[in-house]
């Protein structure tokens, strides 16, 4: 049986990997939508905002269908591995980071647009300048994504299978132990989870504050 430490470590590894991937994809995507002008942009923004509320079990189901033996990606043999969990959580978190980034960059663009255009910055270059300039505000978007990833159970339990010692994470353990009636264990794991989320947010907040004092 996996130890508490292993469960916590796997939770962190899966969710942090997913958030890292979603950040790398989501920030440029959000910035491009914010600064770009193309047909269908408004539909895309509405869609992206709606996807922030994507139900984890539905994402789990879709990734399950993709990765299951009969599915299009079945040959990769990823189902019921931590990698499958990372894929599912990345899909879940990507719209959150992209949508929040889109909003922040768009607000900044209102302030910076004339100056940047006057200096000759356009398109992608302008978008990346903005992302870098509001990087401390974007920490909030990334944290929202991380909170979502660490807290969800629906996606990881479907694609991971909650296999002891392989794909068992905090939320799936809590669900399992609660149904088994081991409430003290479930509750203590729940407290660990909450403490972790608070600690991560506090650390990020302190870094953000210090940086803002430094750079204005």
């Amino acid at each position: 049986m996996s130890t508490l430490g292993e469960i916590v470590a796997l939770s962190l590894a899966v969710s942090l990997s997913a958030v890292l991937l979603a950040t790398l994809l989501g920030l440029p995507l959000g910035a491009a939508i914010a600064v770009g002008r193309f047909p269908g942009r408004r539909v895309l923004i509405v869609l992206l905002n709606a996807l922030m509320g994507l139900p984890p079990v539905v994402v789990g189901l879709l990734v399950y269908l993709l990765l299951s033996r009969a599915g299009p990606l079945g040959e990769l043999g990823l189902l019921f591995t931590p990698r499958a969990m990372v894929i599912a959580q990345t899909i879940l978190v990507l719209p959150i980071i992209a949508a929040l980034c889109r909003q922040s960059v768009e607000d900044a663009w209102v302030e910076y647009e004339e100056q940047l255009r006057s200096l000759g910055a356009h398109g992608l270059h302008a978008a990346l300048t903005l992302v870098w300039d509001i990087r401390f505000s974007l920490v909030t978007a990334v944290l929202a994504g991380l909170g979502r990833a660490l807290a969800e159970v629906g996606a990881v339990i479907i694609v991971g299978g909650n296999i002891d010692g392989v794909t068992r994470v905090m939320t799936t353990t809590i669900a399992l132990e609660t149904s088994k009636g081991d409430l003290p264990l479930a509750l203590s794991l729940g407290l660990v989870l909450i403490a972790l989320v608070i600690a991560l947010n506090a650390a990020a907040h302190l870094i953000k504050e210090a940086a803002q004092r430094r750079y204005g």
């Binding site: 910076y112 004339e114 006057s118 300039d133």
Partner: protein, 242 residues
């Protein structure tokens, strides 16, 4: 800035700008030539800022023509710079803000550092080169905006009420930098509603009233003998000279 490569004069022919069904600039025809400092004077809401943005190319006229003599969009963009009422600085050092502008202007990397430091020295900010730009005071940030423009060596510099948010001390420093720009041969086009400033810095006045160019005259003539009733009323109402 050889005369052959000059982007001046700038010609406006019946230029107008309307937004949301409301006309903001209407039927402005004027030629802005190299040399004298041009002051765009008018009350708040007269359309000064929009007129400057039409000239600089940030806005496209909805009627009429705004045309430079020079050819090529890239040449035009590099020939001009603009300093806004409120300076927008990136969250990086004062020096890095200028380097960023030089990079966009495709100045070779090897020359950027020297040009940027020269510009900072010119406005008296060399000692805060490595301080984050956003923590500088309002007056320092505006001087930094001028240094950023200076580093680009524009042929034409647009200034949109550059001292509107500043105290008298900072205003004086900004005006000194503007004079240095002028002395170096840069064509200055500045909007203001401050009559004292118009007299101190200007050679000629374009007086804008309700989106129209009402009067154009040398500064002395304009203040001594305004030709239009609107200009006379504006000069009277704006006393004392601040």
């Amino acid at each position: 800035m050889a005369a052959s490569g000059s982007i001046l004069p700038l010609t406006l022919r019946d230029a107008g700008f309307a937004a949301g069904g409301r006309s903001i600039i209407e039927g402005v025809s004027a030629e802005v030539a190299a040399g004298p400092t041009t002051i765009i004077l008018g009350a708040n809401g007269a359309g000064k800022s929009v007129l400057m943005r039409l000239m600089h190319g940030l806005l496209q006229p909805t009627s009429g023509v705004v045309a430079w003599r020079g050819q090529g969009a890239e040449r035009l963009r590099r020939g001009q710079a603009m300093v806004f009422q409120r300076p927008i600085m990136l969250r990086r050092s004062a020096l890095a803000n200028i380097l960023y502008a030089l990079e966009l202007a495709r100045i070779p990397a090897a020359e950027r550092g020297r040009q940027a430091m020269d510009a900072l020295r010119e406005v008296g900010l060399a000692e805060v080169a490595h301080r984050p730009a956003r923590v500088l005071s309002g007056g320092e940030q505006q001087r930094l905006a001028l240094a950023r423009a200076w580093a680009l060596h524009p042929e034409v510099l647009f200034l949109d009420e550059p001292t509107a948010n500043l105290d008298p001390g900072a205003t004086r420093e900004i005006e000194n930098v503007i004079k240095a720009f002028d002395a170096s041969g840069t064509k200055i086009v500045m909007s203001t509603h401050n009559l004292g400033q118009a007299r101190r810095l200007g050679d000629e006045v374009l007086f804008i009233h309700q989106g129209r160019l009402v009067e154009r005259a040398p500064v002395d003539t304009f203040f001594r003998q305004p030709a239009s009733a609107e200009a006379a009323a504006f000069i009277k109402g704006e006393l004392p000279w601040t």
